[in-house]
Each structure stands twice: as C-alpha cells, then as structure tokens.
Symmetry: D2
Subunit: 360 residues, 4 copies
C-alpha cells in the first residue's frame, strides 16, 4: 500500500505538476507495476556510477560488477584523474576484463564548472590506469552517442525513487544535471559520494581532497541542491579504514584475469604510494586505500555502514588555502536543515569480502 | 570556395572527431547547400535570444521582431528579473502583441549556477512586466517541451557559423550549454551580451551590474569559454547612451497596440526610475535606458557599433564588494589572448529608428 | 662560554647593526652578567602574558602566579572576550585576589587589525568574568600609562632571548608589535599560544576557533612573522584533554579566597557549558576545558609537553566559512620552512597539580 | 569664541576622558594660546608627510617645501616604491637639495600589514630615485631614533586639530598609528591621500592602484577608521589631470640645483613612461603625471580643489582580480555614513605654478 502511494507521489514529482487526468495516472502506475512484476530480482539494487576512472574507480567498478543483486544501469564519465576521453576508454577496459561490455558508457564533462583544470592529477598515471599498455582496448566507438548528463537525467527519470547514484569523481556531471533538471535529486533513492574531508586534511591542496578540490563549485552545488539522502566516504574516513598491505598482496595474488589486470594497472600508484610525500598524505600509517570502493560498497549493501555522523555540510569556495575543502557544521551555525550521513565506521570484514570477490 | 571550406571545417568541429567517411561528409555539405539555396533571404540574420524577460528584454525582443532581414530562431528563457516561469509567460505575451507566437520559446535554468538567488531583482515589478494585469496572456502550454539548453545546442548546431546569440539576462543557460557541448562557441557567428560594467559602477551590488551579479559564475564561464567574437553592451555604456525623456514620450505615444502594451508594462519601472536611489544609479543624468536593446541592435546591424575598446575581460568571483564585477584588463597583466569588443560609441540615430519601429 | 657568545649575538641582534665599539659591547655584556648574578633564581622563567581576560584567562593567569620559579614581567591586555577596558579591570581583579598587584598591567588594542568586532563573544559574560559583582575592584588608575605594544617591545628588548610570551587572546597586540619592531620575534625565548584549530572544528565560526577568528589577520601575521619557537595549544587539543567534572568540583571546593573567587566568576560559563549548543562544541564529551591554562603550563615547565606535531601553519583569511581557520600543512604544499609545535599529548597529572595550586 | 570652545573640546578629545579639573583645563588652554601668539604666521599650514619616496614623492615633497605659509612638522617613511631604508635616504637627499635638513625624518614600517611585498614596484628604479648616483647623500645617522608611528602619534597630539596629514605611499604607518591610538584621526585637521582608483583602472594589478594594492589592509583600515575629512587624489583623477610634455620640459629646464636634481632622478621613470606598457596605464593620452603632488597641493591650499565627488569608500580585500581596488559606493548599498572627498576638478593653473616653484 505504502509502495503504491509512494509510486503515485513519484509520478507526480516526476512530472512536476498535478496530474488531473486520473486515467493517465493509472496508466503510469500500471506500467510501474508491470516493471516490478517483470523483474526477476525485485530487490535488485539499481546503480548508476559516475566515475573519473583512475585505478581506484576501476576497483570500485569491479566491486560493483561482482556484487550479486546489483544492476548497473550505466556508467557516466567525467574528467578528473585524467581526461574524459581516457576515462571513457578506461571504463571500457574495466568492463572488458569483467565481460560486461553491455553496460552503457556515457561521456560527460571535459572540464570542471569554472573550467580550471587542477594540476598534478596524475597519481594514477597520465592515462589514469597506471600507463600500462593495453593493445586490445575496446574502441571509442562503444561510447554512447547520448551525453552523460542527458543519460543521467533520462535513466533516473525512468526509475523514479529506485536509483542509487554513486559518484567517485569530481561532481561536475551531477551539478550540471541538477541545473538541467532541478527535480532530479528528489527522484534518487540515495547518493553515495567518495569525496570531501572532515578534518581539513588535504590530499591535493593544503586542506582539500581531490574530488572536491578538482571542482569545488560542483561539489558545492551537489551538497546544497541534492535534497536526497547523501552518504559521504570522506578522505580521512578512507584513510582510517585502510586495508593492510598483507591483504593487498593476497587480493592481487588471486589467479584470475581480473587480478592480473589490477596488478598491472595498480603498479604505478602502489610505487608512488610508498614515497615520503604520499606517506604524509595517508594519515595514520600506510596501507591499501581503495577509497572509491567504500562508496560503492555502501550503495550495494545497507548494512555496510555501521556508524555515521550527521551534520549539515557544504564546500568552501573562496579560501586561499581552503578552496574546495568540505565544511562540516558541527556546531550548527550554518542555517541548513539537510544533514549528510558522514561514514564513520563500516563493516571492514564485509568490505574485504567484496574486494576479494571483485578480482575473483 | 572559402565558404565551402569553412562548412567542411564546421562539420568536422560539429562532430568533434575526424570524419573518415567522405560520403557522409559530402551528404552533410549537400544538405547545407540546399539550406542556402532554399532560403529566399540569403543575407537574413539568424538570431537566438536568451532573455530574463523584464521590460527591458521586452523592448529588445520587440526591436528584433520589427527588424527587417532578421529571423529569430528561438527565445530561450532564464531566471533573472523574475522567475523562469514568469519569464516564459512574459516572452509569450510579447510575441502575442507582435503576432509572432510561431517563434519557439524554451524554458531554461530556474537558478543561477551556484543556486543563490539575488535579492531585490524586482526593478521591473514582481512579474517582470510591471505587474500590469493581462487576462488574455497565452497559456504556458505554448512553451516548448525541449529545454532551453538543449534547444540552444541543437539550433546552433543546425546553423553552424550562422547564428548570432544575443543574451540580455544572467548567463546561466549559456554557461550550461558550453559545459554540455564545449564546441558550441566555435559554431557561433557572434555573441552579443548586455551585461557587465567597465568602471566599477554597480547597479545591483556596489560594483556589480545586474546580469553579471545575478550569476557571476555563469558570466565568468561565458567570458572565458566562448571563443567567438563577443560584443558587450555594458552598464556604463548604456547609461552614457541613454535617450531623452522627450524621445521616450514620443516613442510611447505612437498609436499602436505595441506602444500601448509598452506603456502599460513600463509604468512601474519608469516611476521608480525617478526616485533618488535610481537617479544615483543612472550615471550622468537621467533618461530612457533601454539597456538590452543595444545588444540586439548590434546583432542586427553590423554598422550600429561605431567604436569599441578591445580588452581581455573576466569576472571577479570572490570579492566582498566586487563579486560579479566585470574585470577589464586594460594594462595586460592577465594572461589572456581573447579580447572582447566593448561598445563605446554607437549610431544613436539608427538606434532611435529601430526603437521607434519596435512599437510601430 | 656558549652563554656569553649567545649574549653577544643577542646584543648584536638587538641593535640591528654591527657594534664596532667594543667597549660598549663589553659594558652591555657586563650588565647582563650582573643581572644574572643578581638574580637569586637564575633559572627563573620570565613570562609576559597577553590576555583578553575572560574566565579562562583568569585561570591561566592564576596558574602562572602560583608557579614557583616564574616571574611575570607584565600582563598586556587586548580586546577579545570583552572590551579592552574590561580586560584590564579583570586582570587587576585577578591580581588583587592573588595579592600580586605589583605586576604591571598594560592596555592594548581595542579593536582587531581590520576593526571588525566578532559577534557573540560573551561566553564568559558581558564583562568577561561571569558578570559577578565586585564592589572592591581595583581602580583603573592602576593601569600603566605606557601602551601594551610599547611595553611588550620594551620588556622583550630588556631581556633578550629570555622572555616566554604567552598569548591567550586574539593576537592583535603581537601583530602590531612585530610591525613596529620587526626584530622582536628573534629576541623571544618562545611563544606559547592558545588558539587555532587543527581539524576544522570551529567553536566560534563553522571552522574557526575564537582567538584566531576574532582577529584572523593578527593570527596570520604572528604565525608567519614570529620566527621563534611557537607552541600551539589548539582548540581540539584542549577538548581532547579536558578535565573531569569531578576534578572541577574538587578544584573549586578548595577552602581559599582564590577558589571562592573562581567559583563566583566561573558560574556563568559553567552553566551555559551544559547547554546543547556548547556540548556540541566541546568535542568528545563534556568536562572542564581550561583552554588557556595549557599554554601557560607549557611555558612554565618544559617537561609538560609530551608529544607534538610539527608542521608549517598559517591562517585562512578569505574563506566564506573558513576565514580565521588555522591551516596545517600536513602534506607540505605550502612553501614554508618554519614549523610550529602543535601540542598533542601533555602531562595531565602535572596539569592537575598546577591547576590545584592555582586556587590554593 | 568659537576658537576657544574648539580648543577646549580638543583638549577633551585628546585626553579621552572628561577633565573635571578646571585648573588643568585652563592651564592647557593657556599653553595653546601662548603657542598661537608665539607663532608669527598664525595661518601657517602644519603638514606631516608620509612618503615612500620615489620620484613622485620627491616632487610632492619639493612642492610642499617651496610653498609659503607651510610648516612641515616631519616626514615619516614607509616601504613602497623601494625599501624603507632607501625611502629614508631618498627623503634626506631631497631635503639636502632643498637646504631643509632640519626637518625630522622618521623610519616606519618595512613591510605592509600582512607582510607580502608587492612585485615589480620599481617603476622609479631600484632605489626609488631613478638609480642616479649621489656620492654626497646625507648619512643615515640623520634619521630620527624615534619610530615613524610613534612620531606621528606624538606630533599630531602636540597640535590637536591643526595637522594636515598627507600620505603619498602605502598606508601602513597610518594604519598602525590608529590601532596604537584610536583617537588619532579625531585630532587631525584633514587627511590627504594619493591612492586608490575610482573606475577600476589598475596601474599595478588589473584593477588596483599601487599605493592601495601595495597594502590593501592598511588602505582599508585608513578609509574605515580615519573619521576625519579625507581628500583623495585617485589614480584616474591624476591621469585625467596630467600636464603636457611641453610643461614638463619647461619645468625641468629651470636653471637651479633642484631642477638639475629632478632631471637626474626623473630620467629613469620618464624613459619607461614612454613604453607601450605604461602608455596603456596612463589613461587618456600621455604626459607628466606627478600624482603625489596633487595631494600635497590640496593640503596646502584649500582653493586648489574645484570639484569633488562625495561617496562612502572602502577597499576590496578578497578579490582574485580586485584585491586592493578602492570601492566607491555610488549607489548607497554599503551601510556607511562617512563620505570621502574624491577630487574631480582642480585648479591646474595653480598646480603648474606650485610645480614650477618647487624646482625654482
């Protein structure tokens, strides 16, 4: 009963105006019901991934692909770790090694909102995947003709209230989408973001985490305009929840094409992770920080998150040292009602299993 | 010959990739030629108007509608003087009084890029057209289903190199369009903007002109990413080129439905124009400042502009008092090659004739 | 030997030019030696306190007054918790209850560098000392005629290399002093500051600690221009090292005039500390946060600090949400060689003893 | 009668407290009267000059020295066109050539408020006076021991209500002085500043004039805290009132040591004035811009200024392109009552005579 009521509301929201025509309303509801009954896995999680496919995004995508009861409706690409052209190609390579080239890949923004590209974004190599040669990479022809922002709007509108959007990249596509369709956030089931920081520990600028610092305006727009549940896997959280190098060795040592692929593309980042510069960044000791994977894991399984902080959040846009830093209103001086769920404690055993499965 | 060569390049740009298929290339070129021959007025100016239809936009639209040899391909709407819903309605009312309801009207952004609405934007009344009642206003059904940004991209791509885009509003739609299609500016014939200021004389904030101050990020994106000829009718320029109250009286006194319509919608702004607050704003004496009309006039007739300053320009995004102020690099310390054409002297006789014709 | 050599250097620095006159040099050195021999406690710590005497400063001053082997050369006052006039009066009241009215009190800046007073600075009551009536307060005549900044410069120059400056207030006086005498920092033994934050947990603005947020420019100038050892007791550190309410009860229950005085002036802050707003601020549970006392304790006893982080630090001046936030360059992207000593772990047993002694 | 009343008020202000002791009041008044009667030129203008002695300051100082009925109480130096050490030396050289070495010279701030030195400040040569060798320059010993800020406070307090302060440099000394003695501005007769701009035409940064851009915080403090009549000779004003090159030739061709000195030190700036970069800066044609001299001329003769704009003014501190730009509140949106007198039209004939006299 509550489901049906909800669906009606969703139709209503979706059209943005009061439907006076009851027949039309009934017809739409009926279609939704058919959709439900038609689906063999009624409980399947519908995921839409927005990535700037570096090695960490690759890990996160592979984790999603390996998860049971998950349907990935599409992967939208955006500039970040590397150019958007490389990002598209990288996603196709990941889908190829996982035999999932049927998942549609969409090309999105080639620049952040203001147009300034961030320097030194090549932690994962110039091509984003460790500059490991790949002679059999899928052709760029496989990228959809439809743009990422349009696709995002279309897909979410086709599944109102059902899609979990996972963003592991600068939030440019999401910001553009909400300006093109202001009602979009209300149609999401939830938004899972890897990005931002909570203790002003920068990994890119003095105080800024990469995904937010790479497009502060986009992050600002998303945190302020996505009026849906927002779950944040922030930089410090991912550092405090890093996995051991022993786990990493085991993980990569699996006898599979996926593991061999990961070993190849991960080499570059692993090597520089062990330099002094990055050891400083990786707060609280070193280890494997598959940062994007936490956001995907949270979207896949509701029981993954064990504890969250709930605070209003925003992004600093104008600071000399703090531009792009996430701002957490712990005391309540910003005048904001929406609170984000900031991940604090997660089920690391579950995480390790998901990670292992990703390369199996 | 140079035309054909140009067209080929345009096709190339338009698709964003090298066309290996010569047949396809030929086909497109052929279509373009047919388009040319088909057109009875080869020299017709193709205009696309982006407005936040207050009274000044209404004047500018009417000026364009009255001009010979001009085809208005569409009018895109954006929030600014009033809500985007009101803007759409206002444009339809203007088209109705001019018997041009066949021109398609598109609804665009309902918020500026960052989402902050500017306060006190009701110079032209709450509804943007002087709050003059209009029982016979066209229905909102007449607004196109296609969104303004999509339409803008589509229309410009359909007429590569031919469209003059005239923006007399906050530049939100234009900014979104270039992020959705980075090659868009290269396909424009020219961009004509009413907005910005050159001498830090604010009409909205201390140093900021309304259209820029209402969406500084959009203005910044447009001035930095539209790599096509940009012509600016800035606030001080429009003040220095105001028309006399005598002209205004004559203009409104014409015996036509259009003049009576204008008299009705203009009453509110005219009244408050004469208050002390606005006399201060209207630099250099008072009079009729039909600010948006200068940008349209320049787009319609190449001989309208008599003198320009040519400098790199940008927009201040972070100042306490100067956020939204246009920045003119007179000395050459910004590292920027593109120079905007800042209108300095125009043919005011021609302008008066165009204005008179608009209400005939 | 090294002492004498050091003294010579100090003379040299102090005059800012090479002393060619050996006799003059010898004379000065001789005077220094006499000073040393004359002093019964050669190891006495020379302290100069800069305060905005709210209740927390009062606690810190009393802790210093009770410490053996400490000589307080003067107390300079600055606007902060309350007006500089109130601050002066409050310091005199504290000195009175401790029978130390012989310590000179100097009036300093009545405004922060830019002149903006911060709102809601009355955590400690309007008068800074809990608005507890005091009919026998010392007269304002007891304030020195010499201004705080002049006195600071004079006193430090009279004891080159020997003075530990402890600042538990907005850093306005210190900032002015270094602009008046650029060589001042090089003559300090050390600078101990209560202020700033390390994890962007604000107690005044979203991300800013009171003493820094109340005069961001001053904090910036001090952190960038005081080229002497700087020890920071930041807000989060003081929260993580709060004392229990049980200790607080014991502390205040001592049978002494000082304890009764503290009970009286502390009532107001204690009461509002227990409101929801402040419980949020006081990270990690509630308890007694005598924040200024940590800085004084560190200045008094070198063994008090057990562990520090050492990073370059600065202050954000331009952020919308982060203005006044201390910036810690953990990764090393700012181009700065000086590193501050950020207190991390201190001897809390020693602290409790010092605190108890303060009210004995 | 009104004079006496005023003097009493001045005493009152000067001490910052109500004088209950009538005898004391009478005594002070009597001293003032003696001071008046003692003076042979009761109408003498008392000037205090604050300079960063480049060539333009040299011209302004010489103009002041040549004026009848003017007494220069002192010249305070500050970093700007060159280091404060060079500035002091340059002032002494100017005084020497004018036989006025009896005027005391004080050394002030060696850094702007925040401590950032501005780049490319060597328009007047590295040493500020065109790098023209001067083997007979006066010794640095002639600089007063008292610092500039202390001297400024002392001198103004010695002549309450009588001193016209003329600042032709970054306003660091003035800003420090008002923080050291908040009542200082109320004791000034007037403040004359060369600095700032009114039309966002930069000569140093995109939108900033040198003296303000070199220390934006100081300019901000002075414009906001000097509650006395402020007269501004802004950059654009000095450009619009430049003198012809013909006048310049005549001026320098006078047969005097002063003219020969000026010819020597001015050569460097004159040469680079004629480069393209600087022709752009010098709005509205080229010519002699002795910018600092306008401020001195206005201080010397009340009839020099023919027309002013009167607006509240402030300084932008946080803009990317506009930091240091003067902000003129033409519309009245800042909430500020004090209005500065912005010079618009001056008596150029009088100016030429003063200029000629300066080198006679």
């Amino acid at each position: 009963m509550s489901l049906i009521k909800n669906s009606v509301n969703t139709i209503h929201d979706c059209d943005g105006c009061i439907l006076s025509d009851n027949i039309y309303r009934f017809e739409k509801l009926f279609k939704l019901c058919v959709l439900f009954l038609d689906s063999p896995n009624m409980s399947k999680k519908l995921l839409l991934l927005d990535v700037d496919c570096g090695v960490d995004d690759a890990q996160a995508i592979m984790l999603a692909l390996a998860a049971p009861n998950v349907e990935i409706l599409g992967i939208t690409c955006v500039q970040g770790n590397t150019s958007v052209e490389n990002v598209c190609k990288n996603v196709l390579r990941v889908l190829q090694v996982c035999n999932k080239l049927e998942i549609p890949v969409f090309k999105g923004a080639s620049k952040p909102i203001l147009g300034h590209e961030i320097l030194g974004a090549n932690f994962h190599g110039l091509d984003g995947l460790g500059d490991a040669p790949d002679p059999n990479a899928p052709s760029a022809d496989m990228i959809q003709k439809e743009g990422a922002v349009s696709a995002m709007i279309r897909i979410i509108n086709e599944h109102p209230g059902q899609v979990s959007l996972v963003a592991t990249a600068p939030l440019t596509n999401l910001a553009l989408a909400v300006r093109m369709d202001p009602s979009l956030p209300s149609k999401l089931k939830g938004l899972y973001i890897m990005g931002g920081n909570t203790e002003s520990r920068g990994n890119t600028t003095v105080c800024g985490e990469f995904n937010f610092a790479a497009d502060p305006e986009a992050a600002y727009i998303v945190l302020n305009d996505y009026q849906c549940p927002i779950y944040l896997a922030c930089w410090e959280f991912t550092c405090y929840n890093k996995l051991s190098w022993e786990f990493c060795d085991q993980w990569l040592a699996q006898d599979s094409d996926k593991a061999r692929f990961m070993t190849r593309i991960f080499k570059h980042s692993l090597d520089i992770s062990k330099t002094e510069r990055f050891e400083k960044e990786f707060i609280d000791g070193t280890g494997l920080i598959s940062c994007d994977s936490y956001a995907v894991a949270a979207a896949i399984d509701d029981t993954f998150i064990l504890e969250t902080d709930q605070f209003p959040v925003s992004v600093e846009l104008t600071g000399t040292h703090t531009r792009g830093m996430m701002v957490v209103d712990t005391v309540g001086v910003m005048n904001k009602t929406q609170k984000a769920f900031i991940m604090k404690k997660v089920n690391l055993e579950m995480f390790k299993q998901m990670m292992m499965a990703a390369l199996k």
